[in-house]
């Protein structure tokens, strides 16, 4: 059997990490050839939906490289990206793709050796994990749908506002001199990620047919009570509605979200 060759997409910031990769080249430092590099101006440019899209299209791993904290060409774009990756890893853990397939590292323009090292390590990590469940000719359709739910969640207002405000909320104090402790914020984010992911999954499941809570609970491997809780919240947001009632069981159907 041919050895598994992971497909890895690397997003490198123009100022530090891309230059670090160039330096690895100039220094003729060898590393595995699996990575395909995409240049972006700042690691902070990476919208959370981009890594999700890349994974959905069959990448086995995604690595994002930016400037070391304090060295960002744009002051703090890298720190904002750090928050996005944290949220994405939580989302990925829920999708069964696994958070290990996404990595954020800092590589400076002078760290050719470090670049090669980081890429080699990540390639080995992905090689050990094996092919992504959604790569290749027969992707796992259930997990692919999970990724779609994750993408929808990451496109949604709630997660984007939370992630976009995290540093402001946890690092700077507001006009009342209040600062949200990091643990408190993380717990809040955890809840939000789980709720948003679940809601978008329920939305996808009921897009083409109406389903009762019991069937949805089975499909999502959640308790019926938890599913119902999310459905209540979704009804408030006009994401879902009662399609019809069989006996005493309501069947739910997704509404088109703008």
């Amino acid at each position: 059997m041919v050895e598994f060759e992971p497909k890895i997409i690397g997003f490198l910031c123009n100022w530090c990490s891309y230059a670090g990769a160039d330096l690895a080249g100039v220094s003729r430092i060898q590393y595995p050839s699996n990575i395909r590099i995409v240049r972006v101006m700042c690691s902070g440019r990476l919208d959370p939906i981009i890594p999700l899209e890349v994974l959905a299209k069959g990448a086995d791993g995604v690595i994002v490289l930016g400037c070391h904290p304090g060295d960002c060409h744009y002051s703090e774009g890298n720190l904002y990206e750090e928050r996005k990756i944290k949220m994405l890893k939580r989302l990925l853990a829920l999708t069964s793709v696994g958070s290990d397939r996404l990595k954020l590292e800092w590589v400076s323009a002078s760290e050719g050796q470090r670049f090669a090292h980081v890429v080699t390590q990540f390639t080995e990590q992905i090689r050990k994990l094996g092919p992504s469940p959604v790569s290749g000719k027969n992707p796992n359709l259930k997990i692919l749908e999970n990724l779609q739910a994750a993408k929808n969640a990451a496109s949604g207002f709630r997660l984007r506002v939370l992630v976009g405000s995290e540093r402001e909320l946890t690092e700077k104090s507001n006009v009342y001199n209040e600062k949200i402790p990091q643990e408190e914020f993380d717990a809040l984010l955890d809840d939000a990620v789980e709720a948003e992911f679940t809601q978008h999954k329920l939305h996808l499941l009921t897009r083409d047919r109406s389903l009762p809570v019991k069937a949805l609970a089975e499909a999502t491997e959640l308790k019926p009570a938890d599913v119902l809780k999310q459905i209540v919240s979704m009804r408030r947001k006009n994401m879902i509605t009662v399609d019809h009632i069989e006996g005493v069981t309501p069947f739910y159907k997704a509404l088109e979200v703008e």
Binding site: K7, G25, I50, A59, D71, S75, R160
Partner: protein
């Protein structure tokens, strides 16, 4: 033919002599490129960047009506401007060019596996072609530049920059927070290696500044507020409580540095005979040194700490300062003993090594200690200081008496400069000093256009180095003012007004204050201020912000083009 018609992409694959060609099978890659969607022409080139190579690209643009060009060669960080220039000469908007890096990211790093390298090169080109198909022409906005400069800091760097700009016939506003110009030079005694009195040099400088009619000097003044962008800054100066707003074209930051005060280290602050090198200079120039019989200096006090969050940098100038001051003391008090306790002596500059040799010849004693075992200083009951140090070169512990203990402490960034970095929206490095746009290629520019840095605000430097850098910054700051107009990069953010809900997330995240909400609450991007980071686009809760030249669709197209084919 319109540039936005159906893409007609030309792919030019460079051999780079043997750099690419000896690893990657270039002819095979060219044949592959021809099979890619929207590619209508492909050829190989021995050196795409040679005038012949560029000529062939221009010819092909004409002959094959290409409206997108991909060059597969080296890194865009060095060669993109060249190829973009060729496209412009062939009347193709330079933003319709894209580069595939198959040298630094491929042939140079995978020479042992030509087969895999060739496959990777194909993928890299496929990705570049996918992005190229979505490229759009961009227009670089042109803006007028006010012929008036602001220099912040009236030390030797700031005065040099101000004089240089004034001599180029630009108006200069020189802002100094203290009552007098001169900065740290006012506290120094004699300068090395010339042995000239600092005051002599300084007087000449200050006179030329005040007598230059192109320079307005603002003392006891600070920068309160900065708005605008290259060519059109609006700077509010606070002069002794009164505020004044200036129209400024370019800005030079020359705020200098502070000297670290080592409170709590080696009895500093507890014993009056423990001082810093700067305090020693002042005592020497005021002739208040007394008659010390034994002077001991300790190097690297609070520098090169090697710990998380510490002052881990080398302050570079302290070794030469200690050598210079040791020689001065020897000259004033030939019988005094002078010891320099060091970790590594680095007298790196022109003529400095000679000073070090001279100090050795004049019996200044150099004792090397290990940073794991720093000297031990204690005050005896008779008021004298005792120093115990393990000399690692002779592997012996020495007990030394000192009438005066001089601590060589590093330059550190001032608190005011930290505030200024926020006002100017320019970064500080990990060591706290101002961070240039590129350490080699743009050493006095900030990433923000129109703002430049020089002197010790950028890191510890000698006076000579500060002056040289000040000339560099002044000449860089003069260019846009001399041209009168500048074109700014077209890679900027733009807002889809129909989607924007005015939540303000982008306004808060933008590191350059480039986004403001208009009267209707819709986010507006100032193109001249936007520097293309894209944090706003990646964070907009409504996905109403996108980037020119790096749109979501373009980035995703490039990133996913090669998937499934690896």
């Amino acid at each position: 033919m319109s540039e936005t018609d159906k893409p007609r992409i030309g792919v030019f694959v460079c051999h780079c002599g043997v750099n690419i060609g000896s690893v990657v099978n270039v002819p095979k890659v060219v044949e592959y490129a021809k099979t890619l969607p929207n590619v209508v022409y492909s050829e190989d080139n021995l050196y795409a960047c040679s005038s012949e190579g560029l000529g062939k690209i221009k010819e092909a643009i004409k002959n094959h009506q290409l409206n997108r060009v991909v060059v597969a060669s080296c890194t865009p960080r060095t060669h993109e401007p060249l190829f973009r220039g060729a496209c412009e000469e062939a009347d193709l908007n330079k933003y319709l060019f894209h580069m595939a890096n198959i040298r630094e990211h491929c042939s140079w790093v995978h020479p042992k596996d030509p087969k895999k390298a060739t496959e990777k090169a194909k993928d890299i080109i496929k990705m570049a072609v996918a992005k190229a198909a979505l490229l759009e022409p961009q227009i670089e906005p042109e803006i007028n530049v006010q012929p008036s400069a602001l220099v912040i800091g009236g030390g030797v760097s700031g005065m040099t920059a101000a004089l240089s700009l004034a001599n180029q016939e630009f108006n200069v506003h020189l802002v100094e927070k203290d009552k007098e110009l001169g900065g740290k030079l006012r506290e120094l005694y004699k300068l090395y290696p010339s042995d000239k009195l600092s005051s002599e040099i300084l007087d000449g400088y200050v006179r030329s500044v005040y007598s230059n009619t192109n320079i307005d000097v603002y003392t006891l003044s600070t920068v309160k507020h900065i708005e605008g962008f290259i060519g059109n800054f609006e700077v509010t100066i606070n002069r002794e409580g009164k505020e004044e707003t200036l129209k400024i074209g370019t800005i030079v930051v020359a705020t200098g540095a502070d000297v670290f005060k080592p409170h709590g280290m080696y009895c500093y602050g507890e014993n009056k005979n423990v001082i810093t090198q700067l305090e020693l200079e002042k005592l020497m120039s005021e002739r208040k040194l007394g008659e010390p019989k034994s002077v001991l200096m300790i190097q690297c006090v609070g520098a090169r700490e090697g710990k998380e969050g510490g002052r881990n940098y080398c302050s570079r100038i302290c070794c030469a300062i200690a050598v210079k001051n040791a020689l001065q003391i020897k000259e004033m008090f030939p019988d005094a003993e002078v010891f320099i306790l060091y970790r590594d002596m680095q007298t790196y500059g022109k003529d400095f090594e000679e000073q070090y040799q001279k100090a050795r010849e004049n019996f200044v004693q150099f004792i090397r200690y290990d940073d794991a075992e720093p000297p031990d200083v204690y005050a005896r009951s008779d008021g004298k200081l005792s120093v115990r140090v393990h000399d690692i070169l002779v592997n012996d512990t020495l007990e030394l008496d000192a009438d005066l203990l001089v601590l060589s402490t590093p330059l550190v960034q001032s608190e005011e400069a930290k505030e200024l970095s926020k006002l100017l929206k320019v970064p500080l490095g990990a060591d706290g000093f101002f961070l240039e746009a590129h350490v080699k290629l743009r050493p006095v520019d900030f990433a923000t256009d129109g703002i430049f840095v020089c002197g010790t605000a950028h890191g510890p430097k000698t006076i000579g180095e500060s002056i040289a850098q000040a000339y560099a910054a002044a000449s860089r700051a003069g260019i846009p003012m001399a041209l009168g107009q500048v074109r700014t990069e077209a890679i900027t953010a733009y807002v889809d007004e129909g989607l924007c809900t005015g939540c303000g997330t982008c306004v808060k995240l933008c590191p350059y204050n480039a986004i403001r909400k208009d009267d209707e609450g819709i986010a507006r991007v100032n193109d001249a201020l936007c520097k293309a980071c894209g944090v706003c686009a990646a964070s907009c809760p409504e996905k109403a912000v996108n980037m020119r030249h790096f749109s979501d669709a373009q980035v995703i197209a490039e990133a996913t083009a090669a998937l499934g084919g690896l």
